[in-house]
């Protein structure tokens, strides 16, 4: 149960304050500001206890969202609620920024009113919420009969995430496999830890109440089919790579019982954009880039750094937005950089050399060498050598996940699987991709 919700800007000024329960006093708003936002030291924990009141906060750019409660609640749930709140706000007015919040404060109050009642979460699906929210000119007229009946069916229907009677002239489905690959590598090139956390995001514009079935190269399914099918089919499927998924979670629309028994993912999709599943893999990850660092200290006032990056995927694919960040010591006085590809710059304010490459094909390598001049200091502290981090975007899924099929069935309306236009896209991004040097 959430007693109240506050939104602050980076200075700690209250932008939104909504109190649901009487046990949250007026001073709670200030207590959080004084103890957390204005506290000098780093944030010690996302949960703060002040005078027997718990404050849960998350930060989005420089906006603080804080939920307050006096009860012993389930922390993970409150955080999920705050994320959901952020998602809903983003869906309504884009990026969460001070300006956007100030411009949309009436809308936010309206949202808060619908999402929480007396501190209890009521409804948080963006699609379903749209029916109740009147701001932004979505519904400025008194409602028509049709809309009224929609609300009734919406709120009485068993399927909370989809309303009935949706119609599209063109039935379309967009499927994005978004992955972020995380890596921690030792200077010797040994993988210390690597995992991919991926999301399958769908945008569905389908009429009626369609039933969808989604298939991917999940190892368990492929193995099962291989055993059940004929021998030649087994040979075919073994040619395709399958992946072992460590754990996965689904949108509430997916029938979990079916997934448990047959590992098939079937569901009635919500309308519009939603996240179908989230998964993690840790085995057989394709690491799109290898970073090979070489740091040499020449005397006390000079450092020589050479970094080679190698792209490790099909030559026909192009990686984009590559950025390598090479940290430099605090007492750096000057840097000379030579790189064969892209642009590199020393950013004194960030204590790093930032090397940007717009595009890079697979199976290529590129290198940068830098000479760093250091100011002599009498500080005996050794430089801690933070890891070299990397950002990039590649057009494939580093986990190896492939979408095998996505079938749509709608029994009542007369359109079939073939009439649906489907789009599939893979995007692999870097999460925390670090190599120690």
């Amino acid at each position: 149960m959430i007693g109240g919700l506050f939104i602050y800007n980076h200075k700690g000024e209250v932008l939104i304050s909504r109190v649901y329960r009487d046990d949250i006093g007026r001073n709670a708003v200030d207590a959080f500001r004084v103890n957390v936002i204005h506290a000098r030291q780093q944030v010690r924990s996302p949960v703060t206890n002040i005078a027997r009141t718990s404050f849960f906060h998350v930060k989005r750019s420089n906006i603080w969202l804080a939920a307050v409660t006096k009860q012993n609640v389930n922390a993970a749930m409150v955080f999920e609620f705050l994320y959901k709140m952020c998602d809903v706000m983003t869906a309504y007015f884009g990026k969460i920024s001070e300006e956007n919040i100030k411009n949309n404060f009436v809308l936010i109050y309206e949202l808060l009113d619908e999402i929480l009642d007396f501190g209890y979460p009521q409804n948080s699906e963006t699609g379903a919420l749209k029916t109740f929210i009147t701001q932004q000119g979505i519904k400025s007229q008194p409602q028509t009969k049709e809309e009224q009946s929609q609300i009734t069916s919406q709120v009485t229907g068993q399927i909370g995430w989809r309303r009935e009677g949706i119609k599209y002239r063109r039935n379309e489905l967009f499927l994005d496999v978004l992955e972020s690959v995380n890596l921690l590598m030792s200077p010797q090139g040994q993988v210390l830890s690597a995992h991919v956390s991926g999301r399958v995001v769908m945008k569905s514009y389908l009429s009626g109440m369609p039933e969808c079935k989604f298939g991917m190269n999940d190892k368990i399914v492929i193995d099962k089919q291989g055993k059940a099918g004929a021998s030649d089919e087994a040979g075919k499927s073994s040619g395709k790579q399958s992946i072992a998924i460590d754990d996965c979670t689904f949108h509430q629309c997916v029938r979990l019982s079916k997934f448990d028994s047959e590992r098939s993912i079937s569901f009635i999709p919500p309308d519009g954009e939603y996240e179908l599943m989230r998964y993690r893999t840790t085995k057989d990850i394709i690491l799109p880039f290898r970073v090979i660092p070489l740091v040499r200290e020449v005397g006390r006032t000079k450092l020589e750094v050479k970094v080679v990056i190698k792209s490790n995927f099909k030559p026909s694919l192009l990686a984009q937005k590559i950025e390598v960040r090479i940290p430099t010591p605090l007492n750096t006085s000057g840097v000379q950089v030579i790189c064969m590809k892209g642009k590199a710059k020393y950013k004194a304010s960030e204590n790093a050399i930032v090397w940007k490459i717009k595009r890079m094909a697979g199976m290529k390598e590129s290198q940068i060498s830098a000479e760093i001049e250091l100011l002599p200091t009498n500080d005996k502290k050794k430089w801690a050598r933070p890891p070299i981090s990397m950002n990039f975007e590649v057009p494939f899924a580093p986990s190896g996940l492939k979408v095998r099929y996505l079938k749509v069935f709608e029994s009542k309306l007369n359109y079939s699987d073939h009439d649906v236009i489907k789009w599939v896209r893979y995007i692999g991004r870097s999460g925390i991709y670090e190599t120690r040097c």
Binding site: N74, F118, Q122
Partner: protein, 747 residues
Amino acid sequence: MPYLGCEETVKELKRALSNPNIQADRLRYRSYITRVIRSMTQGLDVSALFMDMVKASATVDVVQKKLVYLYMCTYASHKPDLALLAINTLRKDCADPNPMVRGLALRNMCNFRMPGITEYIQQPILTGLRDKASYVRRVAVLGCAKMHSLRPSTEIDPSIVNELYALLRDPDPVVMVNCLRALEEILREEGGVVINKPIAHHLLNRLKDLDSWAQSEVLIFLMRYRPRGDDELFDVLSLLDEFLQSVHTPVMAATLRLFLRLAAAHPAVQADALLRARGPLLAACGSASRELRFAGLCHVQQVLRSQPALYSGQYKRFFCGYSEPGYIKLRKMEILVELVNDENVVLVLEELKSYCTDVSPELAQAAIAAIGHIGRTYTEKCLDILTGLLALQQEHVTSAVIRTFRDLVWFCPQSIGAVCRAVEVCGENPQDTEGKQALLWLLGMHGEQISSAPYVLEGFIDGIKAELSSAVKTELLTAALKLFLCRPAETQDMLGRLLHYCIDEESDMCVRDRALLYYRLLQCGVDEARKILLGPESDPSMTVLAGRPEEPVGCWASGFNTLGPLAGADAHPDAPPADSSAQHCHSTEEEVVSKPPCQACPESAGAAEGPRNTGDSQEEPGLTLGPPLSHEAFERLWVELRVLHRQTLGFPPPAAPPETLQAVLQLVKVQALAFSRCEARPWKAYVCARAGSTLVLAELLHGDPAVPDSQDALLLSVKQRPENLQAIRGFVSVLHNALQTLSSDRT
């Protein structure tokens, strides 16, 4: 004082709102209302406009209605008489054909905070409960709870309660959950909503239809239900099974908690549930958002308390990323320490070593402390790393290493030599109070083996005038005196100076008194001083106490998935722990200690009556195991109580390995808390048992030079609460027999 022109603004708004031209133009009228709300959020007092806003509420425009309701809810308590005017409009809206308007009006009417409102809202709420739109029913159900919270002292209306119980069968899932929530609040005094068998099964079957918030709340409500018999229990568990792998971390955690609670009598089921929840918990630990990651880590820590081996294969998941916030890194380090085993120790130490150079001193010190902790088991490897860290010559690192050395030496006497060599070559002294104290302690305790000890100490004594901390000064006094006892020639002069300064010039009474005490002690003679000052150099038996054994799941299951695990013991040193669960946890432990374990062992109740009723009947109350005692509770009690009984057992300690010893004691229903290793001297063991209604604690001691009785036979000291000599007699004879059997086995 927010805005200077505040009165002007209010006047202007008032003029605009009452202007008939503006009233006619709907959009302009609404934009003025928006301005009123904006001023309200900025902290301006716009309550003077209440009358105009009430007028504005009579409209068909839903947007305008919402805005006005928001305004009214804020100011209704300031202007109760005017708010009554608005009630009429609201009641009319409650009968609107549009379910959204009905719901909206009802919700806002319930949100008014003013005396006497209940009589106006009761009827609409009752009508709302039977509304055909579930949106209105949702609002009405929570309205009942709001009405109750407005007048908490009034009697509970049984008809509303019955109506709410009936609505648990509502087709709309949110209505159902809202009913639970409302009943819980209304019936709080009576212990909350009652979950009987039909309700529990209904909830279990509906669980799938609910959204994640509702699911996790329902799972918490289900904790109240106790299935009758194993068959029903397993039915319930198999229904819950799929939620253990749920999408949402909170739902998964809530299910796990319910599992642990329901299967409290089936440890195998609990272990299985923990195993299957491992994947989702690890997923939470690797989640993209740091707050969820933090919550996941805290919960893994809880699981580790009873199943440390469960995650040891996954130790790499707990390596820290460079950009992670400090609170996550700290937790990860704590977990890594728990996960260490023979296979991964090298890699884990390597990893922790790299954290020791972290930019944040706090994290670096935590990493060093973590290495020290591992050092209690893998002494040599850790000593190498710690010694290597001294070469960094960074102040905070040195200080943390010295502190770690002090603890290590106390636990593992075999490390004394290496530590002394390391301290010897360490060029820099720590500058903070804690570090200084640790260094002084080491110098005093092991001064014989550190050749430079007198010089270092001299440095401290010369700088004593600049020293601010009295704790450091006291430690310095003790160290100097101890060093004097083993190396008198080098130390005599400086000890004299130190005592002189402390007695004559020191203003802190504690330091001065300590100096006087030592001075007089020395007057009594060196031998006397030695006898008093030199204690044992280390206590290896502490290792066994410190090495935390696996706790039963029940210890932490009650606090799982609440705020308890997140708060941590040291997370907020300055803030009082606000969550009741942590305290609750604590108090249950107290209860276990202080109360006779009635439910756990029914025969003990009879035994408790026994001695009192039958006076001198010779029947000895039998020993019972009962719920195990935690180490902290044991330590606390041991310090608190006095020795009631002491005797020598007449034979040396059994040479059997600790596991055998533990198994044998288990057989005779004695809980073994800690043992020294077989060949250690002095050999110590701590055991406890429940006899009837009392708790018996005992220490076995052998070969302690300080206690002559223990030289060649075991010495048994017994403490008890509450006192019952008969129980002690029984306990001693049981223990005597068990140990004698073991000892004679050997010969």
